[in-house]
């Protein structure tokens, strides 16, 4: 956890209740997840009740309250990707990593998530590994990509 960076984000927005979601997103981006004590710090620094921080943190899918792996795998299960075979890709990834959507493996290497339509259906099935999009993926191709990591 990069405490300096988190502290800097918090200091920049001291007392600004209106910046709550922005601050949470920045810390999420930086740290990949929001530990409990960070939620408490956010509440104190921005002067918003912890209850509001918790409500928002559990409402939006963007925020994670559990640690994430080093590599984030997002598989689109939107309608178009689904039709183009997203399920087979998902099955393959689950088999290789041993985790289901929403989970992180014990080595904290991979986190898996299914996502909704990403807006580039003609490239489906779409898989995003650590921010890099892979289009028209086949299960074997993704398997190769994962093994190289």
């Amino acid at each position: 956890m990069n405490n300096d960076k988190i502290e800097q984000i918090l200091n920049e927005h001291q007392g600004q209740a209106g910046a709550l979601i922005k601050v949470m997103m920045e810390i999420q981006e930086e740290n990949k997840w929001l530990p409990r004590e960070v939620l408490v710090q956010i509440s104190e620094k921005l002067e918003v009740p912890l209850s509001r921080v918790l409500r928002i943190a559990t409402f939006y899918k963007t925020f994670s309250l559990t640690p994430k792996g080093s590599y984030q795998i997002n598989i689109c299960t939107g309608t178009a990707c689904q039709v183009r075979g997203a399920q087979q890709v998902l099955d393959k990834v689950q088999e290789l990593t041993g985790i289901k959507p929403g989970e992180t493996d014990p080595d904290s290497k991979f986190s898996l998530e299914t996502v909704n339509c990403q807006g580039c259906c003609s490239l489906g099935p779409l898989v995003e590994i650590d921010g890099k999009a892979h289009g028209k993926t086949a299960p074997d191709e993704i398997a190769d990509a994962l093994k190289k990591i």
């Binding site: 004590e37 009740p49 912890l50 209850s51 918790l54 409402f59 559990t66 640690p67």
Partner: protein, 206 residues
């Protein structure tokens, strides 16, 4: 404050500007059933049991009486067939979650509107999401020890152990507000699992 004349169930009623339909009705002795409404709290509009039909310039609409402000020439009907049916279904849905709810006159309302608590498959989550506990703690006590977490079907209330372990002992004023005993149950559970300051989620130290 200027006076506004509205019509509720055929009666002319004088209301003050800024009042809600519910307040105007109550002032005139017309009862509208409510669950999530509490005089001392901000209106919330969660349960919709107070739904009434309003007519403005010839258009009818269904609104929550506890939120809808009075306006000139407003016509309100509190017991149409449609309104009664809506209230019945709302009660039936809530009773599927909390069949034995005693508080907030749930059972009395159920009888009045002929709601059958066995109509929908039971899904005992016990909380009817009225938000009374959360709002009372935030608005009146200003402690914010209870909050709603998650969304949709998994939305639930949670005591925040860091705060509850300090504040709740001397208060518990929210307990009698809850139409079920769910709130007390959650408190006891939180106390057992997470007091005094053992955070509920994993920390980065783990």
């Amino acid at each position: 404050m200027s006076e506004i004349i509205i019509q509720i169930d055929g009666r002319e009623i004088a209301a003050d500007e800024g009042m809600t339909v519910l307040q105007a009705a109550q002032k005139a002795g017309i009862s509208i059933p409510t669950l999530c409404y509490l005089e001392t709290l901000e209106p919330y509009g969660a349960c919709r049991l107070c739904s009434v039909e309003v007519e403005v310039r010839g258009r009818t609409n269904l609104v929550a009486a506890c939120l809808y402000p009075v306006e000139k020439d407003l016509i309100v009907r509190t017991r149409t067939e449609k309104v009664d049916r809506i209230r019945k279904v709302i009660l039936e849905l809530l009773l599927a979650h909390a069949p034995e709810a005693r508080g907030l006159q749930m059972q009395e309302y159920a009888e009045e509107y002929g709601a059958d608590k066995n109509r929908y498959e039971k899904e005992p989550s016990f909380c009817i999401q009225c938000g009374l506990c959360v709002r009372y703690c935030a608005e009146i006590k200003k402690k914010n020890a209870i909050c709603f977490v998650n969304k949709g079907p998994t939305r639930e209330i949670q005591f925040i152990p860091e705060i509850a372990s300090k504040e709740c002992w001397n208060c518990t004023e929210c307990f009698p507000l809850c139409p079920t005993e769910y709130l007390q149950g959650v408190f006891v559970l939180t106390k057992a699992l997470a007091f005094p300051a053992n955070p509920m989620g994993p920390t980065s130290a783990e």
